[in-house]
């Protein structure tokens, strides 16, 4: 393994982050707030970290899978480390652990915060928070792949590791094209959302931040009361559409716009996903209406659809305090936080594709017992799933639940109640953000013990790197 080559490519990622920090510093300079110097110094430090390997290491013609793997996982971890520089230098509520938690939460698009007063943050730092979400939404390495043309043929190796195998299934293009499609859809979706939010009455700055956060399915808001601050049905509907589209496979969105056959209307996964959203919305709205939580069915529907889409897409924006909702609604929302969006999107979590595949495996198993000699093939979106793929999905889901249970166990050890412990573990590993109980949609993670914040950040990283990526990184020296 060539460390110098690894350092060079991680440096490329650092250069991208430095550019975003410089933009944030510019925003602070224009708004004349206290975030300018922390952001400027962070940008300089990150620039230097990024540029230093490039001074010495020449472009490598091809990188091995092992090197690519270290580059991708290492870039994620290093981005989180570098991302906490502006917070640490600025001070305020950001202790070392808090800054790390906020940075990891941003890059992994979790959107969980330790801030008790978000509005006290300077505008530059608010933009940096949203930018971390936006960069993390596409994947830190993906940004470097698009921005740095010098990566050449290595794009294939790196994007192959950054994208999960399920995500790659729906891209029926060459790898280099996949990177372009992903970012074109992402940037296009963000620009349209910014414009629509501005038209609906938000300030430019708020529109920019909320659009970046919604399209990354992150959930960082510039307001303490999140989207509930605006109390505007129009803004909520714009965000619902933005969050929903961002949680669909970007390749399918691209195909739909280019009128290809494999579009979102024909996708089996999308159909199941929409059915889950519609079903959950109706069930929760009915429950809220009959529990007299909202005065009429329309308000119940409005609140229900926003919270359902916000949680299933792993965004985590809030317009209502879900702790006040019925236990039935809470359980449905927790289930949605586990299922989450589609593969190949910016959403985290177990992914609806895996859950659907798992359900199909279950049905196939039952059929196999009824007809022992039958050859039962499992297809997902028309693509035949090999046994290896099926086993991987089953193993992934099992590990996913084991990690949730371990997270719950350690959280209860620190005195958290069962609902808070379980829902926050689900929210961390699924990159959802808000949980329930003490970690509710209108609360934050400020009161969490430091060790649990660190545990939460590890779960967030594991969730973002699809569990095995992170675990393998820890045993990279033994990997032959």
């Amino acid at each position: 393994m060539r460390f110098s080559v690894i350092l060079r490519y991680m440096g490329a990622v650092m250069l991208c982050l430095s550019a975003f920090m410089a933009v944030s510093a510019g925003i602070s300079l224009v708004s004349d707030d206290t975030g300018f110097y922390p952001l400027l110094l962070s940008a300089l430090l990150t620039l230097l970290l990024g540029i230093f390997p490039m001074i010495f290491v020449q472009k490598a013609d091809n990188i091995t899978t092992k090197e690519g793997f270290v580059i991708v996982v290492g870039s994620w971890v290093l981005s989180c480390v570098v991302g906490m520089f502006p917070y640490l230098i600025w001070g305020g509520e950001f202790s070392l652990v808090n800054a790390w938690f906020e940075s990891v939460s941003g890059f992994t698009t979790t959107g969980a915060s330790i801030l008790t007063n978000i509005e006290a943050l300077p505008q530059g730092l608010l933009f940096w928070r949203s930018a971390t979400c936006w960069i993390g939404g596409a994947g830190v390495v993906m940004f470097a792949l698009l921005i740095l043309p010098s990566l050449g043929t290595n794009k294939m190796a790196l994007s192959g590791i950054e994208l999960s195998s399920l995500a790659k299934d729906n891209y029926r293009y060459r790898t280099q094209m996949v990177v372009r499609i992903l970012l074109a859809v992402y940037i296009g979706l963000t620009l349209v959302t910014i414009l629509l939010l501005k038209v609906s009455g938000m300030r430019w700055f708020d529109a920019l931040n909320h659009a970046m956060s919604a399209c990354a399915t992150g959930g960082f808001s510039t307001k303490n009361a999140s989207v509930g601050f605006y109390d505007s049905p129009l803004i909520e509907w714009i965000l619902i559409v933005a969050m929903f589209l961002s949680s669909l496979h970007f390749g399918l969105i691209f195909s739909t716009f280019t009128r290809k056959a494999n579009n979102i209307f024909r996708s089996e996964v999308v159909r199941v996903y929409v059915a889950i959203i519609v079903g959950a919305t109706l069930f929760i709205a009915t429950s809220l209406y009959f529990a007299d939580i909202y005065p009429n069915i329309f308000t119940s529907l409005r609140q229900s659809v926003f919270q359902v889409v916000s949680l299933i897409t792993t965004t985590g924006f809030a317009t209502a305090d879900t702790n006040l909702w019925t236990p039935f609604a809470v359980v449905i929302l927790i289930i949605l936080s586990i299922i989450c969006g589609c593969a190949g999107s910016t959403a985290g979590g177990a992914k609806v594709d895996r859950v659907l595949l798992y359900a199909k495996v279950l049905v196939a198993r039952l059929r196999g017992q009824q007809h022992p000699n039958a050859v039962i093939r499992i297809r997902l979106d028309g693509i035949l799933q090999e046994e290896r793929q099926v086993n991987t999905v089953t193993l992934f889901l099992t590990t996913y639940f084991v990690l949730i249970l371990l997270g719950t166990l350690t959280s209860t050890l620190f005195g958290l109640d069962l609902l808070t412990a379980f829902s926050s573990s689900v929210a961390f590993i699924g990159n959802v953000g808000p949980g329930f109980g003490e970690a509710g949609s209108m609360d934050n993670y400020a009161e969490l013990p430091s060790l649990l914040k660190v545990q939460g950040s590890v779960l967030m990283l594991m969730g973002r790197l699809e569990i095995f990526g992170f675990i393998q990184f820890l045993f990279i020296r033994m990997w032959r």
């Binding site: 110097y37 110094l41 962070s42 300089l44 430090l45 230097l48 230093f52 001074i55 520089f85 001070g91």
Partner: protein
């Protein structure tokens, strides 16, 4: 970028640039910190000075009143002068005082006005109507007036001045808390720069070793092996720029010398 010299120079300059930038920002934050500390100290000493002056003026007023009421002095000018001084001090404080102190300053003005009116209305004699036909002019018991009328007002005024002192000092506490936050902000850039610097110095060592030191050691060893034991020259290391050229040139030289030797042998 080409040339090992250039690479090392640029790397070195970038370390210097980082040191300078973090130093400048820390200096900026430190100067802010120093400015804030000075502001807090001067605000504190100004408040102490104001309280001291107010107490001195009240005491001057009290002494003048004792002279008039107890020792029977007729001249009230010292008393008036002390009153005027009190008023001017209160009005000068009011100009720069924050909103939270305005109530306290209003009370101070009120007590000052009360003392002034007490002094102005004081007379050593009083006209007492005994019955509808008899009116008698009596000498006022100044000591009693001082104890029963003046002293309670004076004490309340002094209490109010003490309250002002406490309140104005309480105003400094949040600024002091902000100061400690600013102190953190001037230290944080240095600490983080230091960590990044350690990472960069380690990288610098790593790159200089694998692209500078290691290839030269390998070339030297390969050359020594070739000269001593006639082993084929082969230096295995990652080489860039001039070191790569040096390696190529040595290989060429060895090849030329080999071919010259072969030609010589053929000629013989």
């Amino acid at each position: 970028m080409k040339g090992i010299g250039k690479r090392v120079t640029v790397a070195f300059l970038s370390i210097v640039a980082l040191l300078t930038a973090s130093g400048v920002i820390s200096l900026f934050e430190l100067s802010n910190l120093s400015y804030d500390t000075d502001a807090i100290l001067s605000a504190s000493s100004r408040d102490m000075e104001i309280s001291k002056n107010l107490l001195r003026s009240v005491d001057d007023h009290r002494r003048a009143i004792i002279d008039i009421a107890i020792f029977g002095k007729e001249d009230k000018s010292a008393c008036r002068k002390a009153s005027e001084e009190l008023d001017s001090q209160i009005s000068s404080v009011r100009d720069n005082a924050p909103m939270v102190l305005q109530d306290c300053l209003d009370s101070l003005s009120m007590y000052s006005a009360r003392l002034r009116s007490l002094t102005e209305n004081y007379s050593s004699t009083e006209t007492v109507v005994i019955d509808s036909l008899t009116v008698e002019v009596r000498k006022v018991d100044g000591r009693r007036w001082y104890v029963e009328v003046y002293e309670p007002s004076h004490d309340r005024f002094v209490e109010q001045i003490k309250r002002y002192t406490t309140l104005s000092h309480n105003q400094i506490a949040p600024r002091a808390a902000q100061l400690s936050k600013n102190a953190y902000r001037s230290v944080a850039p240095v600490l983080i720069s230091l960590l990044v610097m350690i990472a960069i110095v380690l990288m610098f060592y790593f790159f200089v070793y694998i692209y500078g030191v290691k290839p030269i050691l390998r070339i030297n060893k390969a050359l020594a092996d070739h000269l001593s034991f006639k082993l084929p020259y082969k230096a295995k290391a990652e080489m860039i720029d001039e070191i790569k050229e040096l390696n190529d040139n040595i290989e060429n030289l060895i090849n030329i010398s080999k071919s010259n030797k072969k030609q010589g042998e053929d000629a013989i």
